[in-house]
């Protein structure tokens, strides 16, 4: 026998269920008095945050075309200079007025999620090439057994998108548009399709 490797295994995921808001956004469902405010909900920016203000809006849509009314979406992104506000960021100090992380429950009637943020700067890929500006998203809901990771790129960054090393990995080029948020004024519309013809590209990362 050889020595045992001794690694543990990641805990298995389970669905967040229909009442995920109780735990993650209690004030949103009327449970007041425990937390002063819901973590990560509301604008990611304050008046001192550097960068271009944008809004990201979208819906999570099921295989019948129906928006989920009980989804919860989190985003994680770099600041306007392309730095992450994380202890694992080794290239410099990110904007201290920008955490880079946000959480949005889907609206109970429309299913819309909303983030008020800044447009992120470019971040290098492992080999040093710059990735196009992007926001990482994580989606959980009733019926989703393990959280789904995807990215939103920006429709007005066509040149950067064309040289993005992650988008270049997508063999079926017709699927690339599923990762592009469409600019409309200062907002980007980004619907996430869980299945069907327009199914969003999800990552095993």
């Amino acid at each position: 026998m050889v020595q045992p490797l001794g690694y543990l295994k990641e805990s298995p995921s389970q669905t967040a269920g229909p009442y995920v808001h109780i735990g993650l956004t209690p004030n949103f469902v009327g449970i007041h008095g425990i937390y002063a405010e819901d973590l990560g909900v509301g604008a990611l920016v304050n008046e001192k945050t550097r960068g271009e203000r944008i809004v990201i809006r979208g819906r999570v849509i099921d295989g019948s075309g129906t928006p989920l009314k009980d989804a919860l979406v989190e985003i994680w992104q770099a600041d306007a200079a392309g730095l992450y506000n994380s202890p694992l960021e080794t290239r410099g100090k990110a904007d201290e007025n920008f955490s880079g992380w946000g959480r949005s429950p889907a609206h109970f009637e429309t299913g819309e999620f909303v983030f008020e943020t800044v447009k992120p700067g470019r971040v290098p890929f492992q080999d040093g090439r710059l990735m196009a500006p992007h926001v990482t998203l994580w989606i959980v809901a009733r019926g989703i057994n393990i959280g789904l990771h995807t990215r939103m790129y920006f429709s007005d960054e066509a040149d950067a998108n064309a040289e993005d090393p992650v988008l270049a990995r997508i063999e079926h080029k017709v699927r690339i548009p599923t990762l592009i948020g469409q600019r409309d004024g200062d907002a980007y519309q980004f619907d996430i399709h869980l299945q069907g013809e327009r199914e969003t590209v999800f990552f095993d990362m």
Partner: protein
């Protein structure tokens, strides 16, 4: 060869054989909410290796006491009093200090404080059902609560969820993000539950079942359950400036 602390590397590859697949038709809601195309494999870039970190200063004194954090002064939630405690570790068996753990649950009768829950069991006026903690230097967390009750749900004609507590855990990387559920040792509903059975591996399911921990139980006060959580491990080195195929 450099002998400095290595830059944070990508995470260990997620073992999907231990994780529930997206499509599990016996859990009916998954049918229209499961992606049908293959996931795109992406070894973590900085965008996934980094992640948000939260400070202890955001916590209120009662955030990890669900018996009291929604109760009127001098009152407390009704139900079996329990302490839930454990550690957050990575797959290399290293503790993860300073990570946020959030939890939510039904009350002792199986009723959630949520307008979409219309189960007949009564709301407890002194129970909200939500709390959070940040792990200490050893990766340890704990909270006090009442043991949740099982509840029926519209899946099969007569499906009941086992007693459970939902957990949401941040690691240090956004790709470590995890939501799961903790079950209680000995509950016969565990092995009948379609949501539990989304996990294909019996040993993996057992890692979500918290044992009764009499060593941590407080005599004449509350029983204890121990629930350790494991997040993905991290490679310690990162080879940069190397294109694929070289």
């Amino acid at each position: 060869m450099r002998n400095t602390i290595p830059e944070a590397g990508p995470l260990f590859v997620r073992d999907r054989a231990m994780q529930p697949p997206a499509y599990t038709p016996w859990y009916k809601t998954s049918v229209l909410r499961a992606p049908t195309r293959a996931l795109l494999s992406l070894e973590g870039t900085r965008s996934e290796i980094t992640g948000p970190v939260f400070g202890h200063n955001m916590l209120h004194e009662l955030d990890n006491d669900l018996i009291h954090n929604y109760a009127k002064p001098g009152e407390s939630a009704i139900g079996p009093r329990i302490l839930v405690h454990g550690r957050v570790l990575d797959e290399s068996n290293r503790p993860l200090p300073g990570v946020l753990v959030e939890f939510w649950q039904a009350n002792a009768g199986g009723r959630y404080r949520h307008k979409k829950d219309t189960y007949l069991a009564a709301i407890d006026p002194n129970f909200g059902g939500v709390g959070r903690a940040i792990t200490d230097d050893d990766g340890y967390y704990w909270f006090k609560t009442v043991q949740p009750g099982p509840y029926p749900w519209p899946n099969g004609v007569n499906d009941w969820r086992p007693a459970h507590i939902h957990f949401s855990i941040f690691g240090k990387s956004f790709a470590q993000r995890l939501i799961t559920q903790m079950y209680f040792e000995g509950d016969p509903l565990i092995w009948r539950c379609p949501i539990v059975q989304t996990i294909p591996d019996k040993a993996a399911i057992e890692r979500l079942v918290a044992p009764l921990d009499m060593n941590a139980t407080l005599p004449m006060d509350m029983r204890a359950y121990k629930f350790d959580i494991v997040l993905r491990g991290r490679r310690s080195t990162m080879f940069e400036n190397r294109r694929e195929g070289n």
